[in-house]
Amino acid sequence: MRKLRYREALREAMFEEMERDDRVFLMGEEVGHYQGAYKVSEGLLDKYGERRVIDTPIAEAGFAGVGIGAAMVGLRPIIEFMTWNFSFVAFDQIISNAAKVHQMSAGEIQVPIVFRGPNGAAKQVSSQHSHSAAPFYTHIPGLYVVQPSTARDAKGLLKSAIRSNNPVVFLEGETLYGVAGEVPDEGVEELIPIGESRLARAGADCTIVTWGRPYYTVLAAAEKLAAQGIECEVIDPRTLRPLDTALMVQSLKKTNRCVVVHEHWPYGGPGAEIVDRLQREAFDYLDAPLERVTGLDVPMPYALNLEDTVLPTEERVIDAVKRVSYAK
């Protein structure tokens, strides 16, 4: 194992998959000559040229659609949205076309495409640029939705997404690009399957399900709770659609309590879906109501103190764990 930043892990995944398969290409705003708005695609243009690393005008609906059309006839595009906030102008392409054509064509046409880019709040970019997009896309049958929290998952899942025969919404953490983590050594290929949860921390007292940016908030909170005698088991679903609850249910049978922590708004979305499934699949093992710690139900404010209030905090995680543990 070696340490790589999340951004570098994603870049490696694209390098490796483009090297492996000529049908794979990257298209988006500033992905080529600018070397990526967030430098994820740095170096790709130099290696693969303008044929396969394609800068586009500011036209998300257009290039998302071009990608889908190309995928329909056999290419494997990676479409980068500079941020997922801009995907909403291409929403129709993803929902009405990418997610539908396989069934509309009675299974004749496949759309092997990856839509990727940074997701969620960064820092003080305010309401229009801080969307956590998972709830919008997890609602749609015909899509996969992946949201890796670590560098290793980012690389292994992006490689799987590129090789998938279905449209994948790949949500990267805007604030996670610089976070380093262990990744298999060069030459060791790891494909992490879409649709499998991962045990991030073992503990017997309370299960916490989390992903994306709050993953790190939760791990820090878990350490503080451990100092107080409460050992949390942390599970990262990694893929939000399809959702793998087996590991969560298994954990709940041991801990009897669960807190779900996510950045997206509380109304619906994968957080609510997880709670719904767990209360049914593990009902007889629950010793307390399932709780959620979510982004507050407001458009993201600009002021830093307010933004910190809106995002899930360690304190809110600790409070929720104590509540479900009936601990003071």
Binding site: D21, F25, R51, T56, P57, A59, A61, G62, F63, A64, G65, V66, G67, I68, G69, A70, A71, M72, V73, G74, L75, R76, V89, D92, Q93, S96, N97, V101, H102, Q103, M104, S105, A106, G107, E108, I109, Q110, V111, P112, P141, G142, Y144, R163, S164, N165, N166
Partner: protein, 310 residues
Amino acid sequence: MMMVIRRFEEEAARHYAKGNIGGFLHLYIGQEAIAVAATEVLEDRDYIFQTYRDHGIALARGMPANAAMAELFGKDTGCSRGLGGSMHFFDVERGFLGGWGIVGGHLALAAGTAFKSKYAGEDRVTMCFFGEGSTNIGGFHEAMSLAGLWKLPVVFVCENNQYAMGTPLERTSPLKDLSIKAKGYGMVGDRFEGHDVEVVQERIAEAVARARAGDGPTFVEIQTYRFRGHSMSDPAKYRSRTELEQRKQQDPVALVRERLLGLGVDENALDDIDLEVDEEIDAAVRFADESAPAREEVMMSTVLAPEGDS
């Protein structure tokens, strides 16, 4: 072929009224010359995209009337196995990549298949049909922008039937001549009448040749007229009876018959063809009626494509 489309659409209307066909039904009657001419020009390997008014082009491309009618009836034997309906005909084998239901949404897809031709160095032209109503939506603009920018082998065919649903062109566009929009995207524009199949064929061929030669996309505006409402639920009260009657003087189907008679073709021979077409369409209705209904397992198994072999 124009007769096949005409009779198919008439029967579809009848069975919509009888309740055998549900949802939306948009008929192509009056515009048949365009579909027939365009498919005549294209090669088998080329790609075609169409809007929800897709029966005519699908039939012209060679989709059996049986598969088309069965799709309207929501049957497992339909071209989309009952999952698409009138608006979503597909025939991948014949390069017919769909009827699409969101105005302007499929233009970028056509640019995408054209992108693939260029990316993979394949000699395949994409032809994308849409109405004049689509030229106002963002999807049109973005697709045209990218196709023009990247000189993609695509022909954008605007079937200007004068009405965006119920709104006439003069109330949706400051331009009378839409083809000048092509300039804004750095591509060639063309504009002509669509009732004469020979004229259409000739002019479309120029655009296809341009695309195939790698000289970039063309925006073609073909002036046409639909004799029916926008869809079956549209009584088309926004246009006058006189206007309709006047337009019917330029019925593309009648024009062909007239021309053939003028060339000395035996009238009986033409009548025989008509009878043959009647039988073909009647058989299609019977086939659709007797086919097994759409299947739940097909529905469930086509949400996602099987993985592996990527």
